[in-house]
Amino acid sequence: MIRWRWWGLATMLCASMAFADEKGFTLRAVEVKAKPFLDAAAVGKVPEKTAITVTERQGGWAKIKVGATAGWVRLLAVRLGNPDPAKNDSAFLATLGVGKQRSAAGSTAATGVRGFSEEDLTAAKPDPEQLARMDGFAVTGATAAGFAAAGKLSAQTIPYVTGDGKAEKGGK
C-alpha cells in the first residue's frame, strides 16, 4: 500500500511538472471550449495572435487562460513560446526545471555537458563495440506486441497522409 501511495505521489509530481504554466499565443481566432472535445460547449472566443497562458495539455488540446476566459482549444491552433522564435527566452535547462540561476547569470552552456555537437560528430571514430551493445537490447516482434498490450495500445488502420491532409495513394 505504501508503495502505491508513493507511486501516486510521484505520478502527481510528474504531472504537475508537465503541466506547469507555459506562455504562448494563438495562431488564429479560436473558439474556447468548456471541455477538450469538438462538440463541447463554447465558453468564449480569443482573437488571433493573442498572448495566452497554457495551463494544461491533453493530446490534441491545450487548456488556455486569457484574462477571465479559460477553457480548451485545439493544440495546433496555438504555439508555445514567442511569435518570433528568435525572441524565445526559455532555455533548455529552465524547461527541465534546472539551471535557472545559471541562465539568469547569462551563461549559456554548462561545463561537463556531454554533447552531440557538430564538433563531436566530426571527431567521431567508428565504435563497433557500442553497436554490438545496441544489438543486445533489441526486442522481438512478440515482445513488442506484449509490451503494447500491457500498455493498452490497440493497433489501428489509417493511411499515410499527404501534406494537404489527403490519404496517400497506395497507403494501407
Binding site: 505520478t11 510528474c14 504531472a15 507555459e22 506562455k23 495539455r57 493530446g59 490534441g60 493544440l75 495546433l76 513560446g81 522564435p85 528568435a86 524565445n88 526559455s90 532555455a91 533548455f92 535547462l93 524547461t95 527541465l96 534546472v98 549559456t108 552552456a109 554548462a110 555537458v113 556531454r114 554533447g115 552531440f116 555537437s117 557538430e118 560528430l121 567521431a124 571514430k125 567508428p126 565504435d127 563497433p128 557500442q130 553497436l131 551493445r133 545496441m134 544489438d135 537490447f137 533489441a138 516482434g141 515482445t143 506486441a145 509490451f147 493498452k152 495500445l153 490497440s154 493497433a155 489501428q156 489509417i158 493511411p159 499515410y160 497522409v161 499527404t162 501534406g163 494537404d164 491532409g165
Partner: protein
C-alpha cells in the same frame, strides 16, 4: 583480432558494387588507380557508382546503416541504463512494426548526450539522445519522435541523400587512398566521411516534413494519442533558438513552428477520432525516472 568485423562486410559490398560495373576484376591499388583514370577520374567513377548503387537491396542497406551507426555511436556512446534501453526498444519496435518495413532488424538506442536530438541510420537503426528523453512528457511523445525517425528509414531518406551526393566523398577518399597504395580497407574508412557530412548538414526540409507525417501515422497505428509528436514540437518551440543544447537539431531541421504549421495542415481532423488513445504517462515516467532525477550540471 579485427576490431571492425563489420568493415570487412562493408568493404565487400563496396567492392562488389564497384566490380559489378564490370570494369574491375581485382582490387589492388594500381588497378584501382588505373580504373579511376579510365573512368574519367573521380567524377566519372562517381557517376558509374551512382548507377551501381541505383538500387541498394535490403541486405546492403542494413550493412551500410551499421557502418553509419558505428560513427554516430563513436560520437557519443550509449547511456548506461539497460532498463531504459530496453524500454525505448519496446516502444520503437512496436511503432516500427506498424510500417511496411516491419521486417527490418530494428534497433533503438539512447546515447549519453545531454543535447536534444535523434538520428536514423539506413536499415533501421535509431539513436535518440538522453537530452531528448528528458524533454518528453509521455510515451505518446516518444512514439511520435521515434516514429519520425522510423519514417526516415521507411522512406530511405538518408540512403537516397548519400546516393545523391556524399558518394563523391567516398570515392574521392577511396581513390586517393588507392593512389597512396593503402588498398581496400581505406575504402571502408571512407564511409565515415559521408556519414559525418550528411548528419552535420541534415536532410532536405521536405524529407523532415514527410518524416513528421509518417511518424504521426505510425504512432497512431500503434495505438497512441496521435498528438505526441505535436506535443514534443510544442515543447521544442518554446526554447531559445540559439540554445546550445539544441544547436545541431536547429541547424539540421526546419524550426518547430514551421513543422507544426505543416503538421497542422496534414493532420487536419483526420486524427480526431484517435485522440483518446493512451499516452501512458505513468509507464514513461517510471522508465525515465533515473534520468529525470540525475543531476544535470
Amino acid at each position: 583480432m579485427d576490431r571492425h568485423p563489420n568493415r570487412k562486410r562493408i568493404a565487400g559490398w563496396v567492392l562488389a558494387a564497384t566490380a559489378s560495373i564490370g570494369l574491375l576484376a581485382a582490387c589492388n591499388p594500381k588497378q584501382i588507380d588505373a580504373f579511376v583514370k579510365s573512368s574519367g577520374g573521380v567524377d566519372g567513377l562517381t557517376s558509374n557508382l551512382k548507377g551501381a548503387f541505383g538500387s541498394v537491396d535490403q541486405p546492403k542497406e542494413i550493412e551500410m546503416g551499421r557502418g553509419v551507426a558505428e560513427t554516430l555511436l563513436g560520437a557519443r556512446p550509449l547511456h548506461d541504463d539497460p532498463a531504459l534501453q530496453r524500454y525505448v526498444n519496446e516502444v520503437g519496435a512496436w511503432v516500427a512494426s506498424r510500417s511496411e518495413r516491419a521486417d527490418l532488424p530494428w534497433r533503438f538506442g539512447v546515447n549519453d548526450s545531454d543535447h536534444v536530438n535523434a538520428f536514423a541510420a539506413p536499415g533501421g537503426i535509431i539513436i535518440v539522445t538522453r537530452g531528448m528523453l528528458r524533454l518528453l512528457e509521455n510515451e505518446a511523445e516518444l512514439a511520435g519522435v521515434l516514429g519520425h525517425e522510423v519514417g526516415h528509414v521507411v522512406r530511405k531518406h538518408h540512403l537516397n541523400a548519400m546516393k545523391k551526393g556524399a558518394w563523391t566523398n567516398l570515392l574521392g577518399a577511396g581513390a586517393s587512398a588507392a593512389t597512396a597504395g593503402k588498398g581496400g580497407g581505406a575504402l571502408v574508412d571512407a564511409l565515415v566521411g559521408p556519414t559525418k557530412e550528411l548528419y552535420s548538414r541534415g536532410l532536405d526540409k521536405d524529407d523532415e516534413y514527410e518524416a513528421d507525417r509518417v511518424g504521426v501515422v505510425l504512432a497512431t497505428r500503434a495505438g497512441y494519442d496521435p498528438y505526441g509528436l505535436a506535443g514534443a514540437l510544442q515543447t521544442l518551440g518554446k526554447i531559445k533558438g540559439d540554445d546550445p543544447y539544441l544547436a545541431l537539431l536547429t541547424k539540421t531541421h526546419p524550426n518547430p513552428g514551421q513543422r507544426l504549421d505543416r503538421l497542422g495542415e496534414a493532420m487536419g481532423e483526420n486524427f480526431t477520432r484517435f485522440e483518446a488513445q493512451p499516452r501512458n504517462e505513468a509507464r514513461f515516467a517510471a522508465a525515465v525516472k533515473a534520468l529525470r532525477t540525475a543531476k544535470l550540471d
